[in-house]
């Protein structure tokens, strides 16, 4: 555990190339996304397949505020988080009356509409061409343009997201989430306000995804409608399911595994093969490792 943390803290020093650091930065951004999805899917049991929408809203908000209004990154990041949280609140209020397949379909449709808006609202989003030249953040006199500096920024983001999740899960609110996941009718009968808690989970989840979107925008320094790709949502789902739904470590492990693994395979195979493997892996996971890596390991070590 400590060795792992120490290795992460000194990664820019021992990783052989900036390319490896890039992979780790992407893993960090996806770790925030996986933590965010896990709040809904893992702790309240609601599968959102529109999560790329919150990621994209965060990315566009941050990019537009810094580009058009020349806000600093440090103001744009909370604004992006807040914008995604507001969207999460609105969608939560509307969609969380529904359950199961119906909730899933509404979240997908919401992401679809937002994505079409980003393509068609040329004046605001520059359409399919996207927004180039998103500025890199600065910290006092220093620019965080270098990969190693940005790595620490993302690492801080992951730590923050993890702490928020941990705090939330171990509070009364988190216990209410679990109660809802396990038996909604029973939870309601002991006085848990179902809609209120589910909306709360959606707001936190969307906020974290928005933060990841902002970090992504200022790292790649380019935002286009591709941030809404369904592939991103599927990747998040695979990370959470593989790592372990409803655990705090699962999304981190899943994110690291499913960022490093595809990159390792990239040299040997094309993108199509990689996506094909993703599909097959998702099927195999449900069949053979439905709980995910972390809970399965925990079960083994306890024996």
């Amino acid at each position: 555990m400590f060795i792992g943390l120490a290795a992460l803290a000194t990664a820019p020093a021992w990783l052989p190339s900036p390319y490896h650091l890039h992979i780790l930065i992407m893993a960090g951004i996806f770790a925030i996304l996986a933590l965010s999805l896990n709040l809904l899917l893992g702790y309240t049991g609601q599968l959102s397949l529109g999560h790329a929408a919150f990621f994209g809203i965060g990315a566009y908000t941050s990019a537009l505020l810094t580009l058009s209004l020349e806000w600093s990154f440090w103001a744009a990041l909370p604004a992006a988080t807040a914008a995604a949280a507001a969207a999460g609140w609105a969608i939560g209020r509307l969609a969380l009356k529904l359950r199961g397949a119906y909730f899933v379909l509404v979240t997908i449709s919401f992401a679809g509409v937002i994505s079409l808006v980003s393509v068609n609202w040329m004046e605001l989003t520059n359409g399919p061409l996207g927004l180039p030249g998103v500025p890199a953040p600065t910290l006092g006199p220093w620019s965080l343009r270098t990969k190693s500096a940005y790595y620490y920024l993302v690492l801080a983001g992951v730590a923050l997201a993890w702490l928020v999740c941990r705090r939330l899960v171990h509070s009364r609110i988190g216990r209410a989430f679990l109660a809802l996941r396990e038996n909604e009718a029973l939870a309601e009968s002991v006085g848990i306000d179902v809609t209120r808690y589910l909306v709360l989970a959606a707001v936190f989840s969307a906020a974290l995804a928005g933060m990841a979107g902002s970090l992504y925008a200022h790292y790649t320094r380019f935002v286009s409608p591709e941030v809404f790709l369904f592939t991103y949502t599927v990747t998040m789902v695979i990370m959470v399911v593989a790592g372990g739904k409803g655990t705090l470590a699962g999304p981190l492990i899943g994110a690291l595994l499913f960022t490093v693994l595809p990159e390792a395979l990239r040299e040997a195979t094309s993108w199509q093969w990689q996506m094909l493997a993703y599909g097959v892996i998702l099927v195999l996971l449900i069949f053979f490792l439905p709980r995910g890596i972390v809970p399965t390991l925990a079960l083994w070590t306890r024996r």
């Binding site: 529904l98 679809g112 996506m275 099927v283």
Partner: protein
């Protein structure tokens, strides 16, 4: 407004195939409680099967349509046996994730097999439109409309006139009682998934020659199928037929009078609005799962 009848005719052609897609999906969704995200891939499969038969093997057009349907039926049955039967009784979310996995795997297999460049599917119909007063319709589109209506009728016949259809309806109403009456639920599930997939493949083979065949064509088709199912109500075949025709017309009118960029938003908006305000669909019946 003189374009209105033309929009309506074009909408009907689209709507007929949407109805085929929707009927297949509503059967699978309603009867098996499976949210079939791979439905669009069977549509793509149908289009490529038709392309292979027409462009590579020189099969006549009707034969190619039959071949596409057969491919859909066989692969649908296989999917049900291999992926869905072992998961019966699992949570709806697990099944959903497996179908998402299948969707991604099938789409990228198609991408690897056929390449990313869109294929135009040859057809024997003359390209000059038949005109009737202000209306013009290409013979191919007229054939597609007729074939779609024929297949819809065929699906209704299977569901309402045959023993299989009766067993399917019984399973939909109450699987336990149906099983007690001697209906083999597992077989009904295989037949349902095969029938639904065959109808999706038929839709792909019919629309493929009008548009083009490309690996991601199924994504939009699946979206449309879901909006049709939700519009018509879960497991409601008549509702899916009506919903399909309505969606086709709504899209044509939306693209014609509002903005063609938002054409595909019609489906999303329908899903959101219907689920929020009339979750049992337009032709509301009592049943609703979820």
């Amino acid at each position: 407004m003189e374009a209105l009848p033309q929009h309506l005719v074009n909408g009907l052609v689209l709507g007929g195939t949407y109805a085929l897609l929707g009927i297949g999906l509503t059967l699978i969704f309603g009867l098996m409680n499976v949210v079939n995200f791979a439905h669009g891939e069977f549509y793509t499969l149908g289009a490529y099967a038709a392309f292979a038969a027409l462009a590579l093997a020189d099969v006549p057009f009707l034969g190619a349509l039959g071949l596409a349907i057969l491919t859909g039926v066989v692969l649908g049955a296989l999917t049900e046996r291999v992926l869905l039967r072992p998961l019966r009784g699992e949570s709806i979310d697990s099944v959903m994730l497996v179908m998402i996995g299948l969707w991604i795997a099938m789409q990228n297999t198609e991408l690897l097999a056929w390449g990313g460049v869109a294929k135009s599917i040859p057809h024997p119909f003359p390209t000059a439109p038949l005109t009737l007063g202000p209306l013009g319709i290409a013979p191919l589109r007229l054939f597609v409309l007729a074939a779609a209506l024929g297949l819809i009728l065929g699906a209704h016949m299977i569901i309402h006139q045959t023993r299989l259809g009766r067993a399917m309806r019984a399973t939909f109403q109450d699987p336990d009682t149906a099983a007690l009456m001697g209906v083999r639920i597992a077989r009904i599930h295989t037949a349902t998934f095969a029938l639904g997939s065959g109808l999706a493949a038929a839709a792909g083979a019919l629309l493929g020659p009008i548009f083009l065949a490309y690996p991601s064509m199924g994504d939009l088709a699946a979206l449309k199928a879901f909006s049709v199912v939700i519009l018509g109500g879960l497991g409601n075949v008549a509702g899916a037929t009506l919903g399909g025709l309505l969606l086709g017309i709504a899209e044509e009118l939306g693209a014609g009078y509002v903005s063609s960029g938002y054409r595909d938003a019609v489906g999303f908006v329908i899903i959101i609005l219907v689920l929020l305000f009339r979750p049992s669909g337009l032709l509301a019946r009592a049943e609703r799962i979820g």
